[in-house]
């Protein structure tokens, strides 16, 4: 089964000068993300696979598939640590 991810429903984000500021209403913490992180979080409003996120990054930026996949996987790992990501099973 291909795992799908979506952002935590209690996230609120806004763009500012190409970067993003993210609020987590559940943990009441906030942090900033870079431009590609913001693009990934925007895409994660709906459930997405890693491949779909890679395609979204490649469509938006001039970047190789390999580089985009590394960026996506690294960002998802950081999101998981920060409790801002849910997978299909809701974990």
């Amino acid at each position: 089964m291909t795992l799908r991810y979506r952002r935590h429903p209690e996230l609120r984000l806004t763009a500012l000068e190409g970067e993003g500021v993210v609020l987590h209403l559940g943990t009441r913490r906030y942090f900033s993300v870079n431009e590609s992180g913001l693009a990934i979080l925007e895409a994660l409003k709906s459930p997405r696979t890693v491949d779909e996120l890679v395609s979204a990054l490649c469509a938006r930026y001039e970047v190789t598939v390999g580089r985009a996949e590394a960026t996506v996987r690294e960002f998802l790992a950081r999101c998981r640590d920060a409790d801002v990501l849910l997978d299909e099973s809701g974990s």
């Binding site: 984000l13 763009a15 500012l16 906030y30 900033s32």
Partner: protein, 307 residues
Amino acid sequence: MTSSIELVCADPTVRAALKAWLDEGRLDPPGPLALHVRVAHPPVDNEPGRAVFEQPGVLVRSGAPGRGVRIEWEAAPAVAELPPGETTAYVTLSAAAAARIHECLRTFLLTVLIFLLRRRGWHHIHAATAVDPRGRGWLIAGDAHAGKSTTAALLASCGWEVGTDDIAFLTGAAAHVTAVAFRQPIALRPGGHLLLRRRGTVRLPERRKVGYWPEDLGGRWISRAEPRVILFTSVAERTLVTRAEPLARREALTELIRWSAWVMLEPEFAQHHLELLASLARQAQSYRVTLGRDLFAHPARLTALVA
């Protein structure tokens, strides 16, 4: 000016105090809001399990969309319920709370008002507001010891228009965020009062402060400011010379979130509140300022630093 917020209260003493407070605040929100207040034994929480957000003396219980907000005063039994989708706050004050109505207004009922105004798109920020002689709006944000009131008093003494030294509400749309002032006297501690060398006209003994209207200082009160300059101030011990450091917009936004912390509550309003803060960070130039004693002799130095 009579407040446009509808007040329903059968207790004449509480009603008189509330009406005077609301009228003095001169807020004119863009749609009907109501405050229903009764003196009785406060009800128990019938929506347990909501997350608690603690502020000095006040507990706010808020949860998922559609669950409303409950606000409790810690000093004496008093509760406010703001049901989901309604523009009325239902407040129950115990007799003990009603007996301390002026203290209750400053802490508990102010918090109730903040949540009520959110229902009309007005979002609280812990900040002073002013308009300089060139017509630029200023917002001065920071905590209770950040020098906001002293700076507001100094600016008024230079003939500026000053809205508030502490309580403002952000409203508007992209590129045109306005800070609406809740009118109350600029409240200075004895140290600031002595340094300013002016007599205040409002005694605030319960706060151990002296109050000034902007007009007492040679300024003028103004309801609204469209901030083009934002200062995040602090006062450092023994700092003689005021310093200002420009902030990037993203840094400014994270500071604004800090001083407009209710953005974290009520999911149904959080996105609008966050967008308003981002628009404010875009429309203004922001600075982190360490206030020094030189401002008392040379208040124009503040303008020179951010020119």
